[in-house]
């Protein structure tokens, strides 16, 4: 990897570096990024939606100062969308444009076999790198200065694609039949994220370091909100984080994620709120609860939740 090693001298350095680019990492995350760099292994990140899995990859790219190349997985994703594709249009256009040229080349030949022989001397022209459309995976391998490759929501892709990923993740090379094997000029730093909609294969897990991110502790989440929402008071942050943590313990369908905590914090700042109160919470519930059923459940307990939040962060 050509990413400067001095950034990865210590774990603390990694943690502070990530903090500089706006990602508050706990020790576990910093340890994982540090280890992944030194072992040169991909990191498989799992956890509930909205805990900052994708964000981690973005922050890592910013921290290492290399481009982030993102591959969003979905059902039916295949090699031509992920790895490379031939530029059919360009190939076709060029054959049309060069028609005269081609005629000239085979002019002198008398038989069909001879013309084909003649053409064979040029056959690789239309299947050369100029006609290759690199897709994210190939692009990541070709980056000279290294890159962060983010394979997002790998659980949404099919089993076949997962198997196909294995070659790239273990050897960092791909083979294109017409051209040959392309090796990574410098190994990309790979993050894979998964929401566990499907059980991933053992083989893929074995090749990766596995990081499970759960919802952060209160003080960490407070720190995250403070960094992400400038101008918010410490007291309000304490109250709203305490409130969110209580809501996460309720029996609701979709628990509010960190990004939703941040949204709510931003809303409160715009409303010039200094303190949480029942009415304010009731009016802004829909910024972090996205199902009518959840809003109803939370509204029932609104009074106790607000009281608790105020008591915890007076």
């Amino acid at each position: 990897m050509s990413i400067p090693t001095d950034k990865f001298a210590t774990v603390e350095g990694v943690r502070l570096g990530l903090k500089d680019v706006g990602y508050i990492a706990n020790k576990q995350i910093a340890h994982t990024v540090y280890l992944a760099y030194h072992l040169g292994k991909p990191v498989l990140v799992e956890g509930p939606a909205g805990v900052g899995k994708t964000e981690l990859a973005k922050a890592a790219a910013a921290f290492m100062d290399v481009p982030l190349i993102r591959l969003q997985c979905y059902e039916g994703l295949d090699e031509s969308k992920a790895l490379y594709e031939w530029k059919y249009g360009k190939q076709l256009l060029y054959t049309q444009l060069l028609k005269d040229k081609l005629d000239k080349i085979i002019e002198g030949q008398t038989s069909l076999a001879e013309s084909i022989d003649k053409l064979h001397q040029y056959d690789d022209i239309f299947f050369s790198p100029q006609f290759l459309e690199p897709r994210p995976l190939l692009k990541a391998l070709q980056e000279k200065e290294g890159a962060v490759l983010l394979v997002d929501e790998v659980d949404k892709s099919d089993d076949e694609f997962e198997a196909f990923l294995l070659e790239i993740l273990s050897d960092f090379q791909v083979s294109i039949p017409e051209i040959g094997t392309i090796e990574a000029t410098s190994r990309p730093f790979v993050f894979l994220t998964s929401n566990s909609t499907r059980e991933l294969g053992e083989a893929l897990r074995r090749r990766c370091l596995h990081l499970y991110i759960s919802f952060p502790e209160q003080n960490l989440e407070r720190e995250i909100v403070m960094t992400r929402v400038p101008g918010i008071s410490e007291r309000l942050t304490g109250q709203l984080v305490s409130f969110i943590h209580q809501v996460r313990k309720l029996d609701i369908k979709k628990v509010p994620s960190i990004s939703e905590t941040i949204d709510w914090a931003k809303t409160l700042v715009i409303l010039h709120a200094e303190n949480l109160d029942k009415e304010l919470v009731r009016d802004t519930l829909n910024t972090f609860l996205k199902a009518q059923e959840d809003i109803r459940v939370t509204e029932e307990k609104l009074f106790t939740l607000t009281e608790n939040a105020l008591r915890e962060a007076p």
Partner: protein, 447 residues
């Protein structure tokens, strides 16, 4: 290789975490980076390189604290308040000296080595605790400690008496702590083996005597089987028949390129996702296995997205929604007690139940559907209405009958199994997990 890490990986494996050689290498390199000094760092490093899923992480947490706490806690608990100035005793054993001098490090080392020599790692069953404890004491030199204590007791001086007292209580501490140590080692190394033994036993035990306690564990076993079935299915959705050119599609595609067949299309075979209709008998005649049948039904519901579930006794009821709403225990309790379910628990009537199905739900019978009927076919001499079953059988892809009775009893007394048999694609006995496994294997084969 690092001995401590090796032992830790053995412990993890015994607890059911699957660790490959490649992962072991990763862990080794990680430990080289971290060393054993920073506990949090060591834990994080090992966690990301060894435990690769959430359940495994949980096992890892437990194993890690059990494994790395053993040495620390033990020694501190044994040594008593001791000024370390006790006069050395002539010809005393190492253990006696270490105890009297308050030498924690030496004691820990001695204990660790003794545990290694006694091969405590190999402990498998709770009944072996005494044996391994004796071995460990022997390796540790407890006899010599006892001898020293006896010899000291013979001396009259108050100093010696005090030492005897201190040594005796420390000896008792050792006995207690070593007991704990063995206990923990048992948990650490034998947890998985007990599970395996249990699984082996459970597979062949008849499930009529299914205990409430074991439900969760059996549920897990059943889940694994059904998941295998489901995995196989989902993987085969797009079995491509490579090598067969699809002329029609290729021609159509080539229109874009002025008739040049640039983009070739190949024939591929699509296999549909399974649609399952499960019908389960809950009458009194199957009351001893009904819990098992419902367990299968529940597990099917967990893994197969498109499934309709019905239970019947005197009539037939759709219970699909119940499985989505409630946890296993709750769902089973509701199904058995009939809370909120309009089911009549009089005499079983297969004929009427099938008729109910035909009248109300025959629209879900498609050429893709597999119908699974679970029941003993004991119809109380009512009209079996084979024509209805035939109607169902003709309209679905496959009809599978799982009968909790052995085939030799089929057709005896009021059993209508023999009459129904011609309309089933498959009819199997299914009263133990072993049977279920066979059924699952059969399904995997024919698919």
């Amino acid at each position: 290789m690092d001995r401590t890490l090796e032992n830790f990986i053995t412990a993890l494996r015994r607890c059911g975490v699957r660790i490959s050689v490649a992962e072991t290498m990763d862990a080794l390199r990680a430990v080289e980076l971290s060393g054993y000094g920073d506990r949090q760092m060591l834990k994080d490093y090992l966690s990301v390189s060894l435990a690769k899923s959430l359940p495994e992480k949980k096992v890892f947490e437990v194993c890690f604290s059990r494994f790395f706490d053993i040495n620390y806690v033990l020694v501190e608990d044994i040594l008593m308040e001791n000024d370390g100035t006790s006069p050395a005793i002539q010809g005393a054993a190492f253990l006696t000296r270490a105890l009297l001098a308050g030498d924690g490090g030496g004691l820990a080392l001695a204990l660790n080595e003794a545990a290694g020599r006694a091969e405590v790692r190999n402990i498998q069953y709770p009944t072996q605790k005494g044996l391994y404890m004796q071995r460990l004491f022997q390796e540790l030199g407890m006899e010599r400690l006892d001898r020293d204590i006896r010899r000291l007791a013979e001396e009259e001086s108050p100093d010696a008496q005090a030492q005897v007292k201190a040594l005796e209580s420390m000896r008792d501490n050792i006995i207690e702590r070593v007991g704990n140590l063995i206990e923990r080692q048992l948990e650490l190394y034998a947890g998985r083996r007990l599970d395996e033994a249990f699984e082996g036993y459970m597979k062949n035990a008849s499930l009529s005597a299914l205990d409430e306690r074991d439900l969760a564990r059996i549920h897990k076993i059943v889940q694994r089987m059904i998941k295998r079935l489901k995995d196989r299915h989902s993987r085969r959705q797009k079995a491509a028949r490579r090598g067969h050119l699809d002329f029609k599609k290729t021609l159509r595609q080539s229109l874009t390129y002025g008739g040049l067949p640039f983009d070739t299309r190949w024939k591929s075979k699509k296999i549909d996702r399974p649609e399952v209709i499960a019908i389960c008998d809950v009458s009194r005649s199957v009351s001893n296995v009904v819990r098992f049948l419902l367990l299968i039904l529940y597990s099917l519901n967990e893994f197969i997205p498109r499934i309709r579930s019905f239970i019947f006794c005197s009539n037939l009821v759709d219970v699909s929604c119940l499985f989505e709403k409630y946890q296993l225990q709750e769902a089973l309790a509701r199904l058995r007690s009939g809370t909120d379910i309009p089911i009549l628990m009089n005499r079983t009537d297969y004929g009427v139940s099938f008729l109910d199905f035909k009248d109300q739900y025959s629209n879900c019978l498609t050429k893709r559907a597999t119908v699974i009927i679970m029941g003993d076919a004991r119809n109380n001499y009512w009209n079996p209405r084979t024509e209805v079953l035939r109607f169902i059988s003709e309209r679905c892809r496959r009809l599978i009958w799982l009968n909790p009775e052995t085939p030799s009893l089929w057709g005896s007394g009021d059993s209508e199994m023999k009459t129904y048999l011609p309309y089933c694609n498959v009819a199997r006995e299914c009263s133990t997990l072993h049977h279920l496994e066979k059924v699952v294997e059969y399904l995997l084969r024919v698919n």
